[in-house]
């Protein structure tokens, strides 16, 4: 209540602290871009910080939120174990918390807004498995080993492959979310296994390098060509949609950056206003599930985007030019 700008007192806009997890990936930059307009729309005052993918910085940022008397906090802790003490602190001060993208391992929050990372891996696996007809070799560019989202995608992809497409060999390459490492390892792998027919990259970080390697090795053929190498990316940034259109890649998972921003703030405002939620379908096409005692999670839809929007392995997909995709918003 001491802060001059935002004040919860008597009908003023509530002050909400939003911590951005990092500003060096396209996906999170899109998220950062969507937050302020959403805040204006919902009528909340913002305090933002950036923890640069450093959990210690996040904790310190939460301290500054507390000292600035925020009424609610939205954050996206990339390390889901380390956040527990801070959650406790916020809970002690009755400050509601919404986490985006990740679910804390321990401790409770008002709502988790995320897409299911395990589903990303499974979707990519089903797409590649179907397109390759259940046999052949695929390479997977894992993100950082230290990322929970990366590990979820890796595990679910591997599990799905083992279960549904035992005929497919998967080369998993650790890349630390670095494009140059991915490109080098792709090249090395192509040298030993030139018959790789599928690529799954866990984020768009490896996009350009992968395409460049394919181009250089004359492996870029239109999807209709039997020599085509199937590429599945992840994130749904505009560049990926463009590449799908041009037939350079085949699919991507569109992480709803815009909805992360909107619903993160929506739930925190709701908490400040004293609303509560229960498991079940929502008004925006997603489902709230209770993932453990006292922890609700709004699992936003993360559609698989393809060139034709056809159904793959029984799952619906979205066409690359669908206006609903955030990557197509101007």
């Amino acid at each position: 209540a001491s802060d001059g700008k935002g004040d919860a007192g008597g009908g003023g806009k509530p002050l909400v602290g939003v911590d951005y997890p990092r500003s060096d990936t396209d996906f999170w930059n899109a998220y950062i871009k969507y937050v302020p307009p959403s805040a204006r729309e919902l009528g909340v005052e913002l305090k933002t910080t950036n923890s640069q993918n450093d959990i210690a910085a996040l904790i310190s940022n939460i301290q500054t939120f507390i000292s600035q008397n925020v009424k609610g906090v939205v954050m996206a802790p990339q390390d889901t174990a380390a956040i527990a003490p801070s959650l406790q602190q916020l809970a002690d001060r009755k400050i509601p918390v919404v986490t985006i993208d990740t679910r804390p391992d321990t401790g409770n929050v008002f709502m988790v807004v995320r897409a299911d990372n395990r589903a990303y891996g499974t979707k990519a696996c089903q797409f590649l498995g179907t397109k390759l007809g259940g046999k052949g070799k695929v390479i997977m560019f894992q993100g950082g080993l230290d990322s929970i989202n990366g590990r979820d995608r890796t595990e679910s992809f591997n599990e799905c492959m083992k279960q549904n497409y035992p005929g497919i060999t998967v080369f998993g390459e650790a890349t630390e979310w670095k494009g140059d490492l991915a490109a080098s390892k792709f090249q090395t792998r192509l040298a030993s296994d030139p018959d790789i027919k599928g690529v799954y990259m866990q984020s768009s970080f490896a996009l350009a390098g992968t395409l460049q390697v394919l181009k250089q090795r004359n492996l870029q053929f239109p999807p209709s060509d039997p020599r085509h190498v199937f590429v599945v990316s992840n994130d749904g940034i505009p560049e990926e949609l463009k590449d799908i259109k041009e037939g350079l890649i085949d699919a991507t998972v569109s992480q709803p950056a815009d909805q992360f921003a909107t619903y993160g703030l929506y739930y925190v405002k709701a908490a400040i206003d004293g609303k509560t939620f229960a498991p079940g379908p929502t008004d925006h096409g997603s489902t709230i599930v209770q993932v453990r005692d006292g922890l609700l999670e709004d699992q936003l839809a993360a559609p698989l985007v393809t060139a034709d929007g056809a159904t793959v392995a029984g799952q619906p997909t979205v066409r690359y030019d669908d206006k609903a995709l955030w990557g197509n918003a101007s």
Binding site: Q52, A56, S60, Q68, A81, A84, T106, D146
Partner: protein, 344 residues
């Protein structure tokens, strides 16, 4: 270059004696050379956001810097002797990481850890790992005379890889209370980590300034042959310094682990840049023999105040790093200039 540049002024003979006499006062003031900068940042911070000087926020600054500050203390010890230890940033993560690996129960942590030891072993094992790393560094550097920069650069990579290896890249959590105590408890309303950090620096000030061992570090850093000739057991002291620094890094890692109630496999990654920046801004010489604990402390304090002010000011995320870097660069340059002559 200094020859030509330094001496362009008026004829020296007249002002030389005064220049001499001014020196000692300056030398003592050198430790406090950052105080004006700290005051400026504090004033700016208060103007930017009145929250800045509230005790809550000040405690926040001190707490968030406490682990790194101890790392800076450790590096300062090594730098004073004229060596370098880059691997401290990895020890910072590895030491508590190994302890966690040995004590946490895979049943709770989804298969992480081996649950070999009881939780109470966490702290001793952490410090032991620190000591072992330091001893290994010492063996290569002191015993076999290998270049410290090179050895610890290699160790930085190996130790980080080791932590990734045992953790599989995951974060250790579910630490025993003994391991999280230092980083999470409070005494009289002030986090233990702050007390620990302040006490560590106070002890270091006394040791470096008023004990034979501490002065030996300066002697070794200033001229190792001369130190040996004066009867200082240079090898033993260098070795002990490296071990002490690694143990301190392990302790710092423990504080960090307690604060996060977990140990990410990337703990400490890249911290060495910050550590060097803090030490050097604080007047510690990379050539050895020069630098004080008070200076090093003001160096870390300044860096963390800058970050805090930038956060409070709500600087656009994409420019935070640049501004942070620019302030560090300016501080580095100013500290060199006020710190006296150009040096290599």
């Amino acid at each position: 270059m200094s020859d030509t540049l330094v001496s362009t002024g008026a004829p020296a003979p007249t002002d030389r004696p005064t220049a001499r006499r001014r020196m000692p006062a300056l030398a003592r003031l050198r430790d406090l050379v950052l105080v004006p900068a700290i005051v400026v940042i504090a004033v700016v911070g208060q103007l930017v956001n009145p929250v800045f000087l509230q005790s809550d926020n000040l405690i926040n600054i001190l707490q968030s810097m406490s682990a790194i500050a101890i790392l800076v203390l450790a590096e300062t010890l090594v730098l004073v002797t004229g060596k370098m230890d880059l691997s401290l940033e990895s020890t910072f993560g590895l030491a508590p990481g190994v302890a966690a690996w040995l004590v946490v129960d895979p049943a709770i942590t989804h298969g992480l850890g081996v649950d070999l030891l009881a939780g109470a072993w966490g702290v001793p094992v952490t410090l032991l790992v620190g000591a072992l790393v330091g001893a290994f560094n010492g063996l290569l550097i002191v015993r076999y005379g290998l270049n410290g920069f090179i050895v610890t650069l290699g160790m930085l990579i190996v130790l980080r890889g080791l932590l990734t290896g045992i953790s599989g890249g995951s974060t250790f959590f579910g630490l025993p209370p003994s391991m999280s105590y230092l980083g999470s408890a409070s005494w009289v309303g002030v986090p233990v980590s702050i007390w620990l950090c302040l006490v560590a620096f106070a002890v270091a000030v006394v040791v470096l300034g008023f004990t034979a061992g501490g002065r030996a570090l300066y002697a070794i850093g200033g001229n190792v042959d001369a130190a040996r000739a004066a009867g200082i057991r240079t090898d033993r002291i260098l070795f002990l310094t490296l071990v002490t620094a690694s143990v301190l890094a392990a302790l710092a890692g423990l504080i960090q682990a307690g604060r996060l109630a977990s140990i990410p496999s990337g703990q400490g990654d890249g911290a060495i840049f910050q550590v060097f920046a803090a030490a050097v801004i604080g007047g510690v010489s990379l050539n050895g023999g020069k630098g004080s604990m008070v200076g090093a402390f003001t160096g870390v304090l300044l860096l963390f105040m800058i970050v805090n002010v930038l956060t409070l000011a709500g600087v656009p995320a994409q420019w935070t790093n640049f501004l942070n870097g620019a302030v560090i660069l300016v501080a580095l340059v100013l500290s060199r200039i006020t710190g006296g002559k150009a040096q290599e």
